[in-house]
């Protein structure tokens, strides 16, 4: 065994993937790792997260062959397509993406509410087939782990219309960080939108109060003498309250009524697009937004929502163009620059992202998430000093943000300020963020300041949380060597990796 040597920790290897929730990702990796061959997994995510996920799994599981079945349009069945891939690529993992495109035509016209939004007089061919073919999939594709990447509505469609196939799942995972951002975005949208002031207040109501409010609105709608104009507004409020509650399918039902009552007005279409977007029904979102744009293209939310739908479906350049249009119409709204920053980061333009986020912080200096994203962008530009200061702002405004502490510590780590890094990691831990990467970098930082005992403990924890992280085993062994515990140092080398031998 050679003497301990410093490992090259490129900043690119730093933990940064704000869209993938780490514990969820760790569970998915464990499942793919542990299962003996055939298995069915469902992952609820948007196409852009799917891309991220596939990339990351491919990086993290270099010894597994991961194939990708992308369905650009509706299909009748999967069996023959999978057979072709199985023969040519012999995959261990098969990502199936785009299945939702086969379901759209079976959705009831008018996009109904929860419970009746699929047609009962038909079943999508592809789901009907999967439901009857599950044994054949198991027997013919014994070595393949199927990972179905689907948006929210498609997952529900699976549960209801291919229940036997769905019943064989080994797990369902959701990478909903972006949805959270969306939801927050929609609330922000509603708050910004004129005539909707009472909704800001609604956001502060508790569950019972909101339900009371919903019932009140419902009662007003049901009044036989209610005027059409007022009815339309009531449906709008009803739907928006439901959106705040996260019940997007129900909200759509309300917006449908609103659209029927007033199809020439732009607002109903924007609201419905917002709900559809939150459900991951991106194509329908874009249709509604086109309609809204035809009615009144001066409404900035059209272009904002449009950019989000485009980003989610990986049309990143178009998304950028659309958000620029929104900013042109509403230059003083910080959140638009925030999203522009996010889109630029997705495109890999970190410097431009920083510029956009700088503007956002000037417009709205007290929003911690803007400072946080700015910090992330600076981190990716390797401007660590500035990143630290940006995270300091987050912590100043919202001290209990573990992610900020974690990323701040990451920046300190890259500045070789290891003591400060450890303090930051500890604070993130105290705030409840306990993920493999944190324990790992904390362990490495402790090694650097020669607190090897503590380093080993931290790396043990990293391995426990995320056994597939090969560098953790290596770092642990280096720390043990430094402590003179030679016997232990060899334990675990080769574990989970196979190609670590020396």
């Amino acid at each position: 065994m050679n003497a301990p040597q410093a490992i090259d920790l490129e900043p690119a290897a730093l933990p940064f993937d704000p869209l993938l929730e780490e514990s969820e990702y760790a569970a998915l990796i464990r499942a793919l790792d542990r299962i003996d061959g055939f298995g069915i997994f469902f992952v609820e995510c948007s196409p852009i997260q799917a891309e991220r996920l596939i990339e990351r799994i491919r990086d993290d599981q270099p010894r597994k062959i991961a194939a990708h079945l992308l369905l650009p349009g509706p299909v009748d069945g999967l069996f023959d397509r999978v057979t072709a891939i199985a023969v040519s690529e012999h995959p261990d993992i098969l990502f199936v993406e785009g299945l939702e495109r086969s379901l759209v035509e079976y959705i009831k016209p008018g996009f109904g509410g929860r419970g009746d939004y699929y047609k009962e007089d038909s079943v999508p061919r592809v789901l009907g087939h999967l439901n009857l073919q599950r044994e054949r999939f198991r027997d013919c594709f014994a070595g393949i782990r199927f990972v179905f990447l689907v948006p929210k509505f498609a997952l529900r469609y699976f549960m209801l219309r291919a229940p036997d196939f769905f019943d064989w799942r080994s797990g369902t995972f959701a990478f909903s960080t972006e949805t959270e951002a969306l939801r927050e975005g929609s609330q922000h949208l509603l708050a910004q939108y004129r005539g909707m002031d009472d909704l800001v207040e609604s956001g502060r109501l508790d569950a019972v109060q909101r339900n009371e409010k919903l019932l009140q609105i419902q009662a007003l709608i049901d009044e036989p003498q209610q005027s059409a104009v007022y009815k339309r507004k009531l449906f709008g409020r009803h739907g928006n309250l439901l959106m705040i509650l996260g019940q997007f399918e129900e909200a759509i039902a309300s917006f449908n009524r609103m659209c029927v009552l007033d199809s020439d007005h732009v607002v109903p279409w924007i609201f419905r697009a917002c709900a559809l977007l939150n459900l991951g029904r991106y194509e329908e979102t874009l249709i509604d937004l086109d309609r809204a744009a035809a009615l009144d293209p001066k409404q900035f939310p059209i272009w904002w929502l449009r950019s989000l739908a485009l980003l989610a479906t990986k049309r990143k350049e178009d998304a950028l163009e659309s958000i620029d249009k929104a900013i042109g119409l509403a230059p003083s709204i910080a959140i638009l620059r925030f999203y522009r920053g996010e889109i630029l980061m997705t495109l890999g333009h970190y410097d431009r992202a920083v510029t956009s986020l700088n503007k956002a912080t000037k417009l709205e200096p007290t929003r911690p998430e803007i400072w946080g994203m700015r910090g992330d962008a600076l981190l990716l530009c390797r401007r660590y000093e500035q990143a630290v200061r940006s995270y300091d702002k987050v912590i100043e405004i919202a001290p209990a943000t573990p992610q900020a502490w974690f990323h701040r510590a990451g920046a300190c780590f890259n500045l070789d300020r290891f003591v400060e890094a450890v303090t930051g990691f500890d604070e993130a831990l105290r705030l409840g963020l306990s993920i493999g990467e944190l324990w790992f970098y904390r362990g490495v930082a402790l090694s650097r300041i020669e607190l090897f005992e503590d380093a080993v403990a931290s790396l043990d924890k990293a391995i426990q949380v995320e056994p597939s992280r090969i560098e953790a085993w290596r770092e642990r062994s280096e720390a043990l060597l430094a402590l003179g515990r030679y016997d232990e140092a060899s334990v675990g080398l080769g574990h989970g990796s196979g190609h670590l031998t020396s």
């Binding site: 509410g113 009907g128 009857l132 054949r136 019943d167 080994s170 426990q464 574990h495």
Partner: protein, 445 residues
């Protein structure tokens, strides 16, 4: 074995995709906690004792252990001298979008031909030859009359799953001839019966599994489902085979308004109930009532222990799971539904970075399952669920049909003091903690 390897083995011990083989040591007999329901005796004895061909319907929630029980029935019947043709229907046989009786008849014919392997000169092939002029369009390749073999028949059934236009063509050609095809098939069965040594009336049993997997499709005009068309409108033909037949039927149909017609046509439908994990409330149930039924929970623990024992016989449940009370709670939350239990265990292990499986991982698994159920329930169904919860019965209406199909309502059976079998119903226990359900319960009159 290292910790990580053990976890991997445990993960794979809980596999939702494989029914147990007839002799698997992991099989646990739940007769006592399923209200004395034993498929070997009920269906098996009916077949063994009857002088004439029988036709039984068998239903159960998906994943309750139906196929496992049917697979155990096969050696039991074989030991009693029967020839069993087990046939799990697949998309190759049946078009899920548009399943018809003709497809089932063709599939049965094809399987019986394969299994009984008669000469090429047999009644079914003669039937085919007699109609070859009108039927030969059913194969894509040119087949001469003399070359007609059993494989040709398979080709025809295989065509059913192809493009809709061909499927319709096959049906149009075969539909007028189903009566004569059935006759020919019966002649074939009669010949096979006669050639078997010591033949009594019929020694052949056809088990058609998975027919309950046809997703219900409701005709918007008539309100009837594809299930009605197959199992009710064609009941005479389905019963007319000269061998014993066991068909699986969708459980939702048994409890719909069509259920009584089903019993009229076929006699009682045998339903495999859940393992009883909760005590039935006496009278109207107050929210929160329903204490664990210890024998049922113990039975499920036994299942877990056996599967773990197959990995490492010397390891106890307390070494695998951090907290055994939570494990009992997890058993309760499965509702006594075996595949749900397997899934809960698999998810727990998936969420466990190390052994023993932490308490939080088990709770997480339960909440994941709850979220799945939450999403399948439509707005107007919470009230129905609240009613089932407090009365522990169902009304024989179509309202409960979807909920049974989705397993939100589960069937249990137990013996009362006078040895009568009592059937009762409950909601799936994970639903109890969903806020919308609680609200519906509070608002009940």
């Amino acid at each position: 074995m290292t910790n990580a390897e053990l976890l991997k083995r445990f993960y794979n011990a809980f596999d939702p995709t494989r029914p147990l083989a007839a002799d698997d040591e992991a099989y646990v007999d739940y007769q006592d906690v399923r209200g004395d329901r034993n498929i070997l005796l009920e269906v098996g004895q009916g077949i063994i004792l009857s002088d004439s061909p029988t036709c039984s319907l068998y239903a159960g929630h998906r994943g309750a252990g139906k196929s496992t029980e049917l697979l155990r029935l096969i050696p039991h019947l074989e030991d009693n001298g029967f020839q069993v043709v087990y046939f799990p229907a697949d998309a190759e046989d049946i078009d899920p979008e548009d399943a018809r009786y003709t497809d089932i008849l063709l599939a049965c014919t094809s399987r019986l031909l394969q299994e009984l392997s008669p000469d090429d000169d047999n009644p079914v092939m003669r039937w085919l030859k007699d109609r070859w002029q009108s039927l030969k369009g059913l194969t894509t390749s040119e087949v001469a009359l003399d070359d007609l073999t059993i494989e040709v028949f398979s080709t025809i059934t295989a065509n059913l799953r192809a493009v809709p236009s061909i499927r319709h063509q096959v049906r149009k050609l075969v539909d007028p001839h189903t009566v004569t095809l059935l006759q020919a098939l019966n002649e074939l069965i009669d010949e096979a019966n006669a050639t078997q040594a010591g033949a009594s009336q019929s020694d052949i049993v056809l088990i058609a599994d998975n027919l309950d997997r046809i997703v219900p499709i409701t005709d918007t005009d008539s309100g009837r489902t594809n299930h009605d068309e197959i199992f009710l409108d064609r009941s005479e033909q389905l019963k007319a085979l000269h061998c014993h037949v066991v068909y699986t039927v969708p459980i939702s149909m048994v409890y719909s308004s069509s259920g009584t017609h089903l019993v009229d046509s076929y006699g009682p439908v045998r339903v495999l109930p859940m393992v009883t994990v909760r005590k039935r409330a006496q009278g109207k149930r107050v929210p929160g009532e329903g204490r664990p039924h210890e024998p049922g929970i113990a039975g499920l623990r036994e299942l877990i222990q056996r599967r773990i024992g197959k990995v490492r016989p010397d390891i106890g449940l307390d070494q695998v799971f951090e907290d055994l009370d939570t494990l009992d709670h997890l058993c309760l939350m499965s509702g006594g539904h075996l595949r749900n239990l397997i899934l809960l265990l698999r998810t727990s292990v998936e969420r466990a970075p190390h052994l023993p499986v932490p308490r939080l991982a088990m709770l997480r698994a339960i909440s994941e399952l709850r979220e799945t159920y939450n999403r399948t329930i439509a707005d107007d169904e919470w009230v129905k669920l609240a009613e089932v919860y407090s009365r522990q019965t169902i009304t024989n209406t179509d309202g409960c049909r979807k909920l049974l199909f989705n397993r939100c309502i589960l069937e249990y059976r137990e013996m009362d003091d006078q040895q009568n079998v009592v059937t009762w119903y409950d909601i799936h226990p994970v639903i109890e903690d969903i806020p919308q359900f609680r609200r519906a319960l509070e608002e009940m009159p």
